[in-house]
């Protein structure tokens, strides 16, 4: 990870090295999530894999499917006579990087979830509260903010925030086969009226000037919020630390809105961000070192430090309690929103998803969503295209495992 996040990662590595004399951990920055995954794969094929590799949500299916490349965290700990108790982790992170038998494969690390940040000055100027539902946003918040001279809303990742987490937030299945956990012959379930209704609304908001969209890139959509032009921004709970440094207006956050017309009982969202995977093919001593680092990383103190510095959620219940006890959330109520959202009631639909070639499927979504917003296509044809191409990609992925 780069920027402020990278500095915090380096700090944790330094502290780990200083905390004991047996092992030395060297963090290496390999670029974006996509670039890291690709160079990690290349390194593995050349027999030079690192001990630990950070892989983001969309790459999880590939890592977990490639049985031989990864040493599951559960096994890593078992080798050292320890057991992982999933109940120690906050609900939202328990199964995302686990296999279909709930065995933890990747060690959840920087776990975030999409939340809604808002510029307090903007909301005060428009005399509105942050909306809880999309109905409220559409009828009350957005028109008021527009009248107050703001672009009411922007978001930074349409596939992540408006698709994957749309499904988990509304307790809808994202794909067949138990969201893809139970096999490779999976079909995507996004071509449904609830999600299409959402995108029809989004397109309308965009047309009415109630929603700003500045391209596919993350920061292109975050910048107008940071500059104070956009009043509310859907981003990652992990963006919190960076925002604190960057913006000069008071801001806070609230949970991802939902459609009351779709569900009255919104559920928890998926975690995004990335996990740490222990790579196979290393000596027992090195694996011990990896286990030692994972133990260090998941200790309440380190988790709390990480959470405080970045805004990524504390992944264990113990760390969450520590943060509460320390009064962190009284000082920064926005910092708790992500954890709260991940601790809402869940179901099989909210554990996670496991879809092959998902990086490309996201690219297809981005492409079609862009076309909806620029008026090159309509919502129905866009979703048909995504469904067809996603299913083709997953069928191709199934063959790579043959």
């Amino acid at each position: 990870m780069g920027g402020q996040l990278g500095e915090t990662v380096n700090q944790i590595a330094q502290d780990f090295n200083a905390s004991q004399d047996d092992y030395t951990l060297i963090p290496v920055y390999k670029g974006s999530y996509e670039e890291t995954l690709t160079s990690g794969i290349a390194a593995f094929r050349a027999g030079e894999q690192p001990n630990i590799m950070q892989v983001y949500d969309a790459g999880a299916a590939m890592m977990i499917a490639s049985g031989g490349a990864v040493l599951p965290v559960a096994d890593l700990f078992a080798q050292n006579g320890e057991e992982i108790n999933v109940e120690d982790y906050i609900p939202g992170v328990r199964y995302f990087y686990a296999d279909s038998n709930a065995k933890m494969i990747g060690m959840p690390f920087n776990s975030s979830t999409p939340i809604m940040y808002f510029n307090k000055d903007a909301l005060d100027a428009a005399e509105v509260e942050a909306p809880k539902t999309w109905e409220e946003f559409q009828n009350v918040t957005a028109p008021a903010l527009k009248d107050a001279g703001y672009v009411p809303l922007s978001q930074s990742a349409l596939p992540w925030i408006f698709t994957e987490n749309f499904m988990s937030r509304h307790n809808l299945p994202f794909a067949t086969n138990n969201n893809g956990y139970d096999g490779f012959d999976t079909k995507i379930l996004i071509n449904n009226d609830a999600l299409k209704g959402h995108f029809k609304a989004v397109a309308q908001w965009y047309e009415d000037g109630h929603f700003g969209w500045y391209g596919t890139g993350w920061s292109d959509n975050a910048r107008p919020f940071e500059e104070g032009k956009v009043a509310m921004w859907l981003g990652s709970s992990g963006s919190f630390g960076g925002l604190l440094q960057k913006v000069d207006f008071p801001f806070s956050a609230t949970m991802l809105p939902y459609w009351e017309g779709v569900t009255k009982e919104p559920t928890q969202t998926f975690i995004g961000g990335a996990a740490l995977f222990a790579m196979s093919g290393h000596s027992a001593e090195e694996d011990q070192a990896t286990a030692a680092f994972f133990r260090y990383l998941t200790s309440p103190e380190v988790q709390y430090f990480w959470h405080k510095a970045t805004g990524y959620v504390p992944i264990t219940e113990a760390a969450y309690e520590l943060a509460q006890k320390d009064g962190h959330y009284e000082r920064f109520p926005a910092a708790e929103v992500g954890v709260q959202q991940l601790s809402l009631p869940g179901s099989d639909n909210t554990k996670g998803y496991r879809l092959g070639f998902y990086v490309q499927i996201r690219d297809v979504m981005n492409r079609e969503f862009s076309r909806i917003l620029t008026g090159e296509t309509d919502v129905d044809s866009a979703f048909e295209a995504i469904e067809t191409e996603a299913n083709q990609l997953m069928a191709r992925f199934a063959k790579t495992q043959g």
Binding site: G67, R367, T400
Partner: protein, 293 residues
Amino acid sequence: MKRAGFSNPWLPVALLLPQLSIIAIFFYWPAGWAIHSSFFLQDPFGFGSSFVGLDNYTDLFGAVEYRKVAGFTVIFTLLVTFLSLAIALLLAVKADKVIRGARSYRTLLMWVYAIAPPVAGFLGIMFFQQGNGPITQFFGFFGWEFMLGVNYTDTATAMVIVSVWKQIPVNFIFFLSGLQSIPKSVQEAAVIDNNSGTSRFWDITFPLLAPTAFFLLIINITYALFDTFGVVDTLVKGEPGNNPLTLVYKVYVDGFRGNDLGGSSAQSVILMVLVLILTVFQFRLIERRIHYT
């Protein structure tokens, strides 16, 4: 005439060996691998794989998106090649006539050559930035709301402009030296026959520039097809989205970002065939019609 030869038949082979092995290791071997893996669907980590025959190719030709990318690549290549050649030729002809300060003019025009494609792309982002880029504001002055990364055509326009700008100096250098190698006597004779500068250019100068122009044509087509990767990658900021992509960039997106090795290999094989066709076209059809003095 005595035929020169080697007394030991192995000596020429030994002398050629370094060159041959470089070609074999860096070209034939990877090319062979690309062809091989284009018939498979392979787990990125190299564990599983299944033979799928021509599926990777049929999937590509059946995909609307791939045809769209191919279509854009053709238009992009034509535009970049034509514009960078035409503008460079114009600049070269004008620079050729400058007498005072000629050297500094030429140096200034050649400077851009030293800029690496990603840097050119980055400069492009700064100039075409949504809202506050200088060129964006300039277009806005004429009522064109330029949206890089949002509007397909706008992004394509930025790609073409940056790629052309980056390529002009190379063409300029070649055209200028081409112009300077045209014998003065020929030009002076032409002045006696014809008073019009424009028709003298088309009747005398341009045909004499043909070898240079043809060489540049091929260089520019390959530039537009392959070397614009850095410009494309920087301008789309690594997010394909609904941005215009070239075929080479698509190979990268599918292979290195999506880890679809089979599909990406099939695409590189298609590009290899394309290059092969270009080469045949170059040597068989056009080279014969060009007269080198």
